[in-house]
């Protein structure tokens, strides 16, 4: 049985064309979804494009969302996840923008704090982790998604996720010190 999501009501209103619901949905999901793409792709413009693409897909496919049996949070994150998968499937093998220190990040580099450098360093380390752990890192640490939503998207149980995230945390801790 699907867990009732507070955003299901807003999704239903959006299905009827309510712009107020659109505002609330965007305000809640835009930042974590952008962060998810940014952490995964590490290119500002691409993350922006993909974020916009997710919201376009939301508008385009909102009729298909079933409020009674679905969970809007899981649904929108599934769209984001699929967009990221599509991006990596279709992206060119060598793309300068995908390099760790590209575009705006290079320009901003001198004024960025040590913390930003640390973040990029950790992200580079995470890239060497198995794909499942990378995704968990992006969903839990970057997008700050709840266990329930991650469980719905990945198809794992919440207890299995807690164990996996605990292991990921243990794996990360040595690099954080």
């Amino acid at each position: 049985m699907a867990i009732k999501d507070q955003f299901n009501v807003l999704a239903e209103a959006l299905q009827k064309g309510d712009s107020g619901s659109a505002e609330k949905i965007f305000d809640h999901f835009s930042k974590p979804i952008y962060a998810f793409f940014m952490a995964r792709i590490r290119h500002k413009e691409t993350a922006q494009d993909l974020t916009q693409e997710v919201f376009l897909k939301v508008i385009k496919n909102i009729e298909q969302f079933d409020r009674k049996s679905g969970n809007f949070t899981a649904w929108i994150w599934q769209i984001a996840r699929n967009s990221a998968i599509d991006y990596f499937r279709h992206k060119k093998p060598s793309y300068l923008a995908d390099l760790p220190y590209e575009g705006d990040n290079i320009i901003e580099e001198p004024i960025k704090s040590d913390e930003s450098a640390k973040v990029r360093e950790i992200m580079t380390i995470v890239e060497d982790f198995p794909p499942e752990e990378q995704e968990l890192f992006q969903m839990h640490f970057v997008a700050d998604m709840s266990y329930t939503d991650i469980a719905q998207i990945t198809g794992k149980t919440e207890s299995a996720l807690r164990v996996a995230i605990h292991r990921l945390r243990k794996k990360l801790v040595p690099y954080l010190k």
Binding site: L14, G17, S19, L56, I59, K118, V119, V142, L176
Partner: protein, 228 residues
């Protein structure tokens, strides 16, 4: 314990830095937000237009279906000359009204004559169906009261018969007055019509009830026409 707290703090600090690093800029957020809301509004207006057009579509289909069914039943009832107790009887009357409305004055006279015959047949049939089979007993069948509803129906049909007959005769007179060309033909038709009506009334099965004053009136009117 201290190590655990240090770990937690490190993770917390990292999460905070991570969020700062992956925070979108306000210009992008503002433009994306505006675009998303505009799309939602556009979608709402498109949906409203689609809903409206669908409503019209369904309304048109419903009207066509109702019209087809009504006209079909009316044509069927009229063609089969259904009895007054038939469920489609009102459709027959509707069809008659439509035929009258679409006919020329000369054709209307003919139709009124046909309809007068029909009403008379309907009354006769209704009365015949009501009458009990002949019973050989001391009790008079005529004492049996006619049910109210049936009597009302018979009266209505008698009234319609009178109306149709009189309209047919009046219209014939009007045509005779205003048209020289058809005078002789219509005068002959009118006499024949009266003879037919009188014959039909005469040949009706014997009813247990007293004759209707409306039928008596028509008999008198027809006799007058024949005498003229």
């Amino acid at each position: 314990m201290i190590d655990f707290i240090k770990e937690q703090l490190a993770v917390r600090r990292f999460k905070k830095s991570l969020r700062a690093y992956t925070r979108p800029d306000q210009v992008f957020l503002k433009s994306a937000r505006t675009r998303f809301i505009n799309l939602a509004q556009q979608r709402a207006s498109v949906k409203a237009v689609v809903t409206r057009s669908n409503s019209w579509k369904y309304a048109t289909i419903a009207i066509v279906v109702v019209f087809s069914m009504t006209s079909g039943m009316a044509v069927f009832a009229d063609a089969n000359n259904v009895s007054a107790t038939h469920p489609l009887y009102n459709f027959k009357r509707l069809s008659e009204q439509i035929r009258l409305g679409l006919s020329s004055p000369v054709q209307q006279v003919e139709l009124h004559q046909v309809f007068a015959h029909r009403r008379l047949e309907e009354v006769t049939e209704l009365e015949a169906n009501h009458d009990d089979p002949p019973v050989v007993s001391t009790t008079s069948v005529s004492d049996k009261p006619v049910p109210d509803k049936l009597q009302v129906r018979i009266d209505e049909l008698n009234k319609d018969f009178q109306k149709e007959t009189e309209t047919a005769l009046d219209e014939t007179e009007n045509i005779i007055e205003y048209s020289n060309r058809e005078t002789q033909v219509k005068s002959r038709d009118s006499a024949q019509f009266c003879r037919d009506i009188l014959s039909s009334i005469k040949n009706r099965p014997k009813s247990n009830r007293p004759p209707s004053p409306m039928v008596d009136h028509i008999k008198d009117r027809c006799r007058e026409v024949l005498e003229d």
